[in-house]
Amino acid sequence: MSDANLDIENLRELYRELILDHARNPRNFERMADATHSAEGINPLCGDKLKLYFRINAANIIDDAKFEGSGCAISTASASMLTEFVHGMDMNTALQYFELLQQRLTAPDSPVEHAPLDLGKLRAFEGVREYPSRIKCATLAWHALRSAVQCDDHPASTE
């Protein structure tokens, strides 16, 4: 394999097909007029800026999730997949998934805290581990989710 091909192979571990697909065709990419919770996520490193919208019902279930804004492939795909992933999910469970995701990306060998949870499709982001400066991209939307449910009106930043 030539050097260039090797580089491409390695990079595909980061830019998996699922991620590129969501980045090119983000799902739930629109404003939500009747959001009960929303928050902005800003990554000052690269200027990524997302706005996440959630409709959360009285039972704390996330009835709907949407996003808009602009970001790199990783952060766009992450937001897009988040909106699908948390749909119909209990808010606290969603936050536990955030913790789990963060742990899998930053300290994959540490004992798993939320054992019964399964990252499922979010595993696509595991390639980010090798690119520490991109972990922020993969978690930006999740940071915004947390801000939104905590009603924090300062933009979430990954710093």
Binding site: I8, A23, G47, K49, S133, R134
Partner: protein, 405 residues
């Protein structure tokens, strides 16, 4: 000696990144330092260190001589009239904040204006926003055109007697545009405004003569001109500085302190409260020597050729759009590629050893103007060469391939 022979002076350039030889194209963010700078700092710490200005013992005297010697080198580098006009700061940002707080804040009133341009770095925007907020003055912004050049006519039209200060970059860090600063200052002199030039991106690439420019203030950073981080310079005309109240209080900036009366020290010490970055200044002095020995004109000539090659080569890539195509440019080429976010491009290039900067480059208004979330930016210094450009282009082709599928 050909320019690219200087490359060997920079230890950081001779390493592998991700299994590839490093191609460093991020000097506009921070330049690498040559061995002479690194060694001057270490040597100072090993042999001559003590606190300055306050001791009669030999080391204190040597440290003071080294520190003041660096000031004199900087004076000569930008051709200031007196070394007391050279104030050491942490960098351009602190230099600009000093002027905002110490020169402008005390005189600024509601109804006054501060004139800047759409090209400015955040460090030449936010300090003025802060004083405007405190005083009710207005920040006025001169527009740019699609090439990323200042619209001079529009700028001149915005000049009037309400403007207390024109704060303008010499060279844009996001786009590389060189402003015709000499003409602009001449025009501004028709009014009663003070003039600050943000020279952070100019001093590493061209020769600067503050007396010829006739600006009131000129600010720049050591780390962008091959010196250490934590160093920078505010040049100010003696009379201006003399009239300004001190900014920070503390040791060294006073002649006499009692609880009832405090007498400030002479320039430049009035503005250098506390122990300065002595070893940093020594390193900055060494960086000045390094640039001076090569010759600012030689550097400018070489870099201009290389910049043309860079821009030409970039333009050959499908879907790539150059951002910033001013007729008169230095060191920097920004660009975007269809369907590839700059941040992703940065990662893909880094994977191949090529270091560029991606994002807003602390110039969000420029990004807004071009309606992009950010750009990829390759920036050059005297240690870069055509091979660096070729490797950049090859690496970009891999990125387009990866994202094309």
């Amino acid at each position: 000696m050909s320019m690219t022979d200087y490359r060997k002076d920079f230890p950081a350039l001779h390493q592998e990144i991700q299994g590839h030889p490093l191609v460093y194209l991020d000097s506009a963010a921070s330049a690498q330092a040559p061995s002479v700078v690194i060694d001057a700092v270490a040597e100072y710490q090993r042999c001559d260190h003590a606190n300055v200005h306050r001791g009669v013992h030999t080391l204190s005297h040597r440290a003071t001589e080294a520190f003041e010697g660096a000031r004199e080198k900087v004076r000569s580098f930008i051709n200031a009239a007196k070394s007391s006009e050279i104030i050491f700061t942490r960098g351009t940002t602190e230099a600009i904040n000093l002027v905002a707080q110490s020169y402008l804040r005390p005189i600024l009133k509601s109804g006054d204006q501060i004139l800047i341009t759409h090209l400015e770095h955040h460090s030449n925007i936010v300090p003025w926003q802060l004083v405007c907020e405190l005083t009710g003055a207005e920040l006025v912004v001169a527009p740019i055109n699609d090439q990323g050049e200042l619209k001079l006519d529009a700028l001149y039209e915005l000049m009037n007697d309400k403007v207390r200060l024109l704060a303008i970059g010499h060279v844009s860090n996001a786009l590389g545009s060189i402003n015709p600063i000499q003409d602009i200052i001449a025009e501004a002199r028709k009014f009663n405004m003070a003039i600050l030039v943000d020279g952070a991106q100019a001093v590493p690439h061209m020769s600067v003569d503050v007396q010829a420019l006739d600006c009131d203030f000129y600010a720049f950073s050591g780390h962008k001109m091959f010196g250490p981080t934590g160093t920078g310079v505010l040049y100010g005309k003696h009379a201006r500085l003399e009239a300004m109240p001190p900014w920070q209080g503390g040791g060294d900036m006073i002649l006499e302190v009692s609880f009832t009366r405090t007498v400030y020290n002479d320039l430049p010490y009035k503005f250098e409260a506390g122990t300065p970055n002595i070893s940093g200044a020594v390193g900055l002095g060494a960086a000045v020597d390094y640039i001076t020995a090569i010759g600012a004109e030689n550097i400018a000539r070489y870099e201009n050729q290389l910049l043309s090659y860079l821009s030409e080569q970039l333009a050959t890539i499908d879907g790539l759009q150059l951002i910033g195509t001013a007729a008169n440019k230095a060191s920097v080429q920004s660009f975007v590629i269809d369907g590839i976010h700059p941040h992703d491009l940065g990662t893909i290039l880094d994977h191949q050893g090529v270091a560029i900067r991606t994002g807003h480059h602390c110039a969000m208004p420029v990004m807004d103007f071009f309606a992009v979330p950010g750009t990829a930016r390759a920036s050059l210094a005297l240690y870069n060469n055509r091979d660096d450009v070729d490797k950049l282009i090859a690496a970009i082709r891999i990125a387009t391939e990866l994202f094309a599928e």
